[in-house]
Amino acid sequence: MTSFAKTIKNKKHLMMGILVYNVYFFLYYWSINYLNFGIKETLIRWSPNWQTLFFKQISTFTFEPIGIIQYFGIQFYVVPVNILIGLALGFMVFLNITAVLYIRNLPKQCRINYKYNGIIGILPSFLTGFACCAPAFLISLSSVLGSSVAFFASIFKWLLPLSVLMLLYGLYRSYEIIRAN
């Protein structure tokens, strides 16, 4: 049985993984300002220039919306590349979560020196939303950060790759233990 199959064999773990996958995806999409709540107007619109906008970046790893859907107070910008990024990151989170849950059920002696650090990799990707001239999270923290905003803006482009690397490292460490058991 492969390591992956082992991690999703338990139905509870699988369901938890899928739940976290979904929650992660929507949190990521909300954090980059493409999912909003409390919108009164109902509408569905698509850009006639969607081909031009499809790969147009508005900031590092954030792309131009090609459509908008507003229903039941929820506003969802349709940004295919960011949807793919969110799904890919979410899948890595899913793999990490199911692996962690599997390892937690192993006997203690099988998980000596194991830390759940891969999961921390989720965090940086939530910080990639950009507003106009400055990342959205920096604007909200500007009163605390003061003139350090520029420094944080300069490291901003590394956040998503950092997230990916941390998630991959977490997976590598987890699957090493799962394979050995």
Binding site: C132, C133, S142
Partner: protein, 364 residues
């Protein structure tokens, strides 16, 4: 087999993230400023030895990542019912009519390129420095349009010229590299006003529509609001986000001043003073100027006092001002067939004005 699939999935994810990273890097690299270090002469107060290109920082987005509006659509005042009474609008008074640009749309686009009165104009707005300026093409490139470079100088929007790729810091209004190096762009006045005042004065104005060709949340402003009770608004509180070349505490950083330029001289006017005295005469080098408080729009206008060889002395009057001969001029600087010439002036946050013009005169 499943093991192979797992490995393939992981490698694909890693590969795609590297690909996206490289894509992002290549996009950013293409917008890096030139490495030229020529001395740049500016409009007045920044010394010749200062190299403005050296002080340019990345704001984050790539070139035109903040997308200018290229084919603006306008609607009537009555169709713009989504605007609140105290929303800020930028008023552009052309021969062709009055155009109103809601700040809540401009905050997401920063530049509107349009063709009005048979000339190419660009309405530019930088939310970080609270400056809205209308630029025209320079004499050799009359049909220039401008884009957002994704760069900042003194926390201020750096535009780029689409035909020459030169950088033009918005407040400076002058090219700092390439073909437009040291070329000063002509301007036309834009006035800040509240929606309630602008629509009352100009009920037939054309209002920039939310139909911009892009999807943005025009009901929200990431920096806060211009409402006086918004205690967390970037527009009123805190310092600049990005480094500035010079700083001063004559006023608070976000205090609005009216920056005026003429004859290589610059002056910062306190709009509260103009509101109090209604008409203020002052000199910028050899230019005799007058600042007038327009009660209708609650905005300051600045004109040259010289017209057709005559120097006028103005005093306040109802619905405008009067000259030494008792002739009445309206707020737009018009008396019968005569029209005073507006200077280059615009509202701007104090920190940004001072950062460009540390030797500025201040009238408060």
């Amino acid at each position: 087999m499943k093991k192979i699939i797992t490995v393939v999935v992981i490698v694909a994810l890693l590969g795609s993230s590297v690909l996206f990273y490289l894509l992002a890097q290549s996009n950013n690299t293409s917008t890096q400023p030139d490495t030229q270090t020529d001395t740049v002469q500016t409009t007045g107060d920044i010394s010749e030895s200062d190299d403005l290109m050296k002080h340019i920082t990345s704001g984050g987005p790539p070139k035109d990542g903040i997308p200018p509006i290229e084919d603006p659509v306008y609607e009537s005042v009555s169709d713009s019912d989504y605007l609140n009474d105290y929303d800020k609008v930028f008023v552009y008074e052309s021969n062709d009519g009055i155009y109103l640009y809601p700040q809540r749309i401009l905050v997401w686009h920063e530049i509107v390129n349009d063709y009005i009165d048979d000339k190419q104009i660009s309405i530019t707005y930088c939310p970080l420095t609270g400056s809205a300026i209308c630029y025209l093409g320079d004499a050799e490139h009359k049909d220039n349009t401008y884009g957002t470079s994704g760069k900042l100088l003194n926390s201020n929007l750096v535009m780029y010229d689409r035909s020459t790729d030169s950088y033009i810091p918005q407040i400076l209004g002058e090219g700092i590299n390439g073909d437009l190096n040291q070329v000063v762009l002509p301007t036309e006045p834009i006035l800040w006003s509240d929606w309630i005042d602008a629509k009352r004065l100009y009920p037939n104005a054309k209002v920039l529509s939310k139909d911009t060709g892009f999807f943005r949340d025009y009901n929200s402003d990431p920096y806060g609001t211009y409402l006086p009770d918004d205690e967390r608004s970037y527009y009123y509180f805190g310092g600049p986000f990005f480094p500035v070349m010079y700083a001063d505490d004559t006023f608070s950083d976000k205090k609005t001043v009216v920056g005026v330029k003429s004859d290589n001289h610059v002056v910062a006017l306190d709009p509260f003073l103009i509101k109090e005295v209604k008409v203020l005469q002052f000199d910028l080098g050899t230019t005799k100027a007058v600042a007038v408080y327009d009660e209708r729009l609650k905005a300051v206008r600045v004109f040259s006092r010289e017209l057709n060889g005559t120097l006028y002395d103005f005093k306040p009057s109802t619905e405008g001002f009067i000259d030494q001969n008792g002739q009445h001029w309206n707020y737009n600087g018009i008396h019968e067939e005569l029209q005073l010439i507006p200077l280059t002036y615009f509202d701007v946050m104090w920190f940004a004005w001072y950062a460009y013009y540390p030797d500025t005169e201040v009238i408060e």
